[in-house]
Assembly symmetry: C2
Homo-oligomer: 103 residues x 2
DNA sequence: TTTTCATATGAGAAGATTTTCATATGAGTT
DNA sequence: AACTCATATGAAAATCTTCTCATATGAAAA
């Protein structure tokens, strides 16, 4: 696996708006409009963000009538977020940028 | 956990030079100079990169004489890279940016 | 305590990503 | 077929990140 692959993958998560989308999608499949509403954001911004996440297969989509519904690739995203939660708990208690004091 | 925390964490990995450092450190502890040599890069660039990785506790450091030796936080980094290798194998065969054909 | 060697830091320039706005596309409705 | 609504796309402007260079710091050696 090329190292640049990791970079590509992590890059898609290096943006809090895109991470927010993933967190909203934990609740289940949503249309672009629903996401747009929930995140109080302009539609095209949501579409651009979803395109990046989709390129990495972190989300998938299906058309349903006029809408396109996006959902999480749970198999990857859930363990990934858990891993980082665990990391933060183990290594980042009041001692690093995670703690919100010393960023 | 704040969503911005994920973003901060992933941001540190969203750069292929920093990922390269982690991959080199898989082989074991290295000084800044050794990394600099191995990665054919100017020293200050390496130091800046290490600072970002350290802030997230993805690497740790200890001084030994004149040198500062950096090593991997294996507990987090190894499972993390494995998770993404697995993801790429499962979801990204010739169908996405991972495959190198359709980025 | 001066010199040397390794590493860290700061600030501006260079480069990359994100946001925004205008517009295109494409499915369903009339 | 023309219209509407949801989504996607492209390109320029705005913002953020990285790189580079000059310089600071700090431990060990002379």
């Amino acid at each position: 696996m090329k190292n640049s692959t990791y970079h590509f993958f992590f890059g898609s998560l290096s943006n809090s708006f895109r991470v927010n989308i993933l967190l909203v999608l934990k609740d289940g499949e949503k249309s672009v409009k629903e996401l747009s509403k929930k995140l109080k954001t302009e539609q095209s911004k949501v579409s651009h963000a979803l395109a990046v996440l989709k390129k990495c297969n972190l989300v998938k989509s299906r058309r349903k009538g006029k809408n396109v519904l996006y959902s999480l690739n749970k198999k990857t995203v859930i363990p990934l977020l858990n891993l980082i939660d665990k990391h933060a708990k183990l290594f980042c208690k009041g001692c690093c940028a995670f703690c919100g004091r010393c960023a």
